[in-house]
């Protein structure tokens, strides 16, 4: 307890100091509109966690304040060097990173291999990000000031790439002073000395403000410059506020979910999305209907298959989302992987599904789900009444709408489903984690660097009482698939230097697709968008599908920021 309160106390002091000193630097507390980019949509809590070593840090802690060794470009599906100049597997189980020369921390100290080692050595401290890294990373070796070698007990190349663009490097000279065990508990903004393009300026409940760090290494090394002197990020208060802000040019970049944005008069004038027509947004994750494999009757693949055929996803996309999302591929793969050609068309041809209620009824009839007692609802093959409990987070209007469409669809084929609108945090999460449901929505198949993540999500074992890390909420137990998944994680995304590996990769991916579709593990429905709207009245050159503009993923979401969000800020230009 003491430690935390200490930190809090420190935070307070800084808070007060900030009001007097720092504010002056911002031109007497005001941020000139033409020098400031306003963003919003990433912060769901409050700006309290400034610790890059833990999950859930404030927006821009990753990327602006602290930086990673690489970033990931989803268009090309490959890592691009950032703090690192290069990185490669020099042995089967050794990965070597070469740092760029001359990178300094905001306080002027050099960023060296020691800092990298320090950062990764924190992996065994409870509460630090990547809790399982310790299980397969053996040792971090400093070769020289700019060279680090990572020795693996289990070289999971795919998973490692994920760490490389996700883990912020922190300075040893500040964090090293702290007791290691206390590091996860640090949170105040006194720990914001990083290497990035922006420095912490100030924050309050509703917004965080950053000011450009003018000696940023990337200017020299990569010729990148941040046009905006200030970045101010708003907390998620309500869609309504965000909507009016983006329309009134009080926000430059909004990463809120704003259905209807494509219908406002300003759309196409000052307000834009990545695509100027459907689906308007890039895809961020796959929203799926999750059947519970651990409960009857959803443990029956035939039933799951029938459900898949009975859902009219187009209706959800058109009415629930007004066309701002795209229907998902039956494999659940994000467009990025489809573009990479990882979809096995033959498998999908044979085992895929589409909206076809008649087919659904046929499957149900065949599997013995028939309405014997004539109450209009089908019973299970055992003749028991069937009522599927579909938990839906209340207040998430798009999902509520989608659930209602599914309810209608299932009713149409005689399957009785009951919508159970529950509080998202209080009831839904615990029930999903503990498997207390028949059907639930989930969208944790995220935009990441490697397909292994998708299959981790689908097959991770063992199934615990509480599936708290959000993988495998459907509780499928398929040892074979899990082994394939783990093998997949050891392979880099093709093309790599090793054609055998690439071939194996394709084999595994095909097989996993087949298992997944055959067993109908989950029912992928649509891709949730990488919600993003810009107002180009003050800043232009935002990413879009127009060839004249950059095409980075324009988001400020912490987990996706190193997928192009950061690069977006290097490209924008003042309007006029």
């Amino acid at each position: 307890t003491e430690d935390v309160t200490d930190d809090v106390a420190d935070g307070e002091n800084v808070d007060e100091a900030e009001d007097t000193d720092d504010a002056d630097s911002a031109n007497a507390g005001e941020f000139p509109r033409n020098e400031t980019v306003y963003t919003g949509g990433a912060e769901w809590g409050t700006y309290e966690d400034w610790n890059p070593n833990t999950d859930g840090e404030a927006t821009f802690v990753r990327g602006f304040l602290y930086e990673t060794l690489f970033w990931f470009d989803p268009w090309e599906a490959e890592l691009k060097p950032w703090l690192a100049e290069s990185g490669e597997w020099i042995e089967e189980d050794v990965y070597e990173v070469a740092l760029r020369d001359g990178i300094t921390w905001h306080d002027g100290e050099q960023l060296t291999a020691d800092d990298v080692k320090f950062t990764f050595d924190l992996r065994d401290v409870p509460g630090v990000e990547f809790p399982e890294l310790d299980e397969w990373l053996d040792e971090v070796e400093v070769v020289d000031d700019l060279t680090v070698r990572f020795h693996f007990s289990d070289p999971r190349a795919g998973q490692w790439d994920n760490v490389l663009y996700d883990r912020e490097i922190v300075p040893e000279h500040t964090w090293g002073e702290m007791d290691r065990e206390e590091i996860p508990e640090a949170s105040g903004e006194d720990i914001t000395i990083g290497s990035g393009a922006y420095e912490y300026h100030s924050h309050d409940e509703n917004r965080a403000r950053y000011e450009r760090y003018d000696d940023w290494w990337a200017t020299e090394h990569l010729g990148l410059e941040m046009a905006a002197r200030y970045v101010v990020d708003f907390r998620n208060e309500s869609n309504e506020v965000a909507m009016s802000q983006i329309l009134q040019n009080e926000l430059d970049l909004s990463n809120f979910f704003l259905p209807g944005i494509n219908q406002v008069p300003e759309f196409g004038e000052s307000v834009h999305t990545f695509y100027s027509e459907e689906p308007y947004m890039l895809s961020a994750n796959t929203a799926s209907l999750i059947p519970n494999h651990d409960r009857s009757p959803t443990d029956d693949a035939d039933l799951r298959r029938a459900l898949a055929f009975s859902i009219d996803v187009d209706d959800i996309v058109d009415t629930g989302y007004q066309g701002i999302v795209e229907k998902a591929d039956p494999t659940g793969m994000l467009p990025l992987w489809l573009d990479q050609g990882f979809r096995d068309d033959e498998v999908v041809e044979e085992h895929g599904f589409s909206y076809d209620p008649e087919e659904a009824e046929r499957i149900l009839d065949e599997a013995g789900y028939v309405d014997e007692d004539g109450d209009g609802w089908r019973e299970t093959p055992d003749g028991e009444d069937m009522e599927l409990d579909f938990i839906v987070p209340s207040g998430w209007t798009d999902w509520e709408l989608a659930a209602e469409v599914i309810e209608e669809n299932l009713h149409d084929v005689g399957v009785n489903v009951v919508l159970d609108f529950v509080d998202p945090g209080q009831e839904l999460d615990p029930r999903r984690d503990s498997g207390d449901y028949d059907l639930v929505f989930d969208n944790q198949m995220l935009l990441q660097n490697h397909l292994f993540a998708q299959y981790f999500y689908l097959y991770e074992l063992p199934v615990l009482d509480e599936q708290a890390n959000r993988d495998n909420p459907h509780r499928v137990e398929n040892e074979h698939a899990w082994e394939l998944t783990q093998e997949l994680a050891r392979l880099g995304t093709p093309p790599t230097d090793d054609p055998d590996d690439d071939e194996r990769f394709m084999e595994i991916v095909s097989e996993l697709q087949e298992i997944t579709l055959e067993d109908m593990v989950i029912i992928p429905l649509w891709y949730n968008g990488l919600w993003s709207q810009v107002n180009d009245s003050t800043w232009t050159n935002w990413p879009s599908d127009d060839p004249d503009t950059p095409n980075y993923y324009p988001t400020t979401w912490a987990n996706e920021f190193m997928l192009g969000g950061l690069m977006t800020f290097t490209e924008i230009e003042p309007a006029g």
């Binding site: 005001e30 508990e185 208060e237 009016s244």
Partner: protein, 333 residues
Amino acid sequence: MGRYLGRKGLIYALTLFVAVTINWMLPRFMPGDPISDMVSRAGLRDPEAAARMQAYYENLFGLDVPIWQQYLNYWGSLFSWPPDLGISMWSFPRPVGDLVMGALPYTLALLIPAILLSWYVGNKLGALAARRKALDNTVLPVSYLLTATPYMWLAILLVWFGGMQLGWFPSSRAYSGNLVPEFSMSFIGSLALHWVLPFLSLFLVALGGWAIGMRNLVIYELESDYSNYLGALGAPPRLIRKYAFRNAMLPQITGLALQLGVVLTGNIVTEVVFNYPGLGLLLLNAITSTDFFLLQGIVLFVVIGVLICNFVIDIVYVWVDPRTRTGLQGASA
């Protein structure tokens, strides 16, 4: 008078006791376990780590001692200085007291002027209406309309009309996004501009109620025995109205205490509509993020605030109404 205040004091003390106790009980005895929720949200894979975290939080929030001791500690922490309201989960690890104190000025800035001005203007209007038929025919219907208007609707209309259509006033937050709180003209100007619409929505609805109440009370007082007597002795209407007004004020003062809760309600929804960073919005954030400690802190604060206001009003009442000072029956024959 001593007895009167003594009795009031007893009621307040009991109310405080009940409120604090209920407040303490809610997160402990209601369905759902806030700590487990928090742990499960952290998404720990390792059950042991989860257990450690659970223990850590239980210790942090003082839930690892026997229940009676938690209760005593709760009282103890309230009476320590500064009062320790625990730590927020929504804005972990900020102390609840900090958050409440941060939001309080905004709420007060809305509530105090809204309550006092609506009371004052409403009473004046009501008294005027009681006097002139023409005014009565306009003030009364408008007042009924206003008082029947739900706060949130008026707020929405104001946002739409004043904020969006006319664009005269900003329609969300307490100050413009390009400012940092500080003592400067631009900041204060921005505060003032953002304050107008939420203030208006509170002010207008409350205004109607006061005006109607005052009008009716004045009419009632004008028919009272002392008014009749004055009239029979040829006192000018001005004097009679003055007396009636003064007497009618008394129930309106008591009404002020009773209306506190109502205006508070209005304040919550108004803050929600305008995204005004006061206690109401904080309360809703606490609820949506199931931050029980924050919720407790706010409720406690509000309850104590209301109690204090009630007490102040009681004292004012004693001061304006001689009857409370001299005991109830005529003292000496």
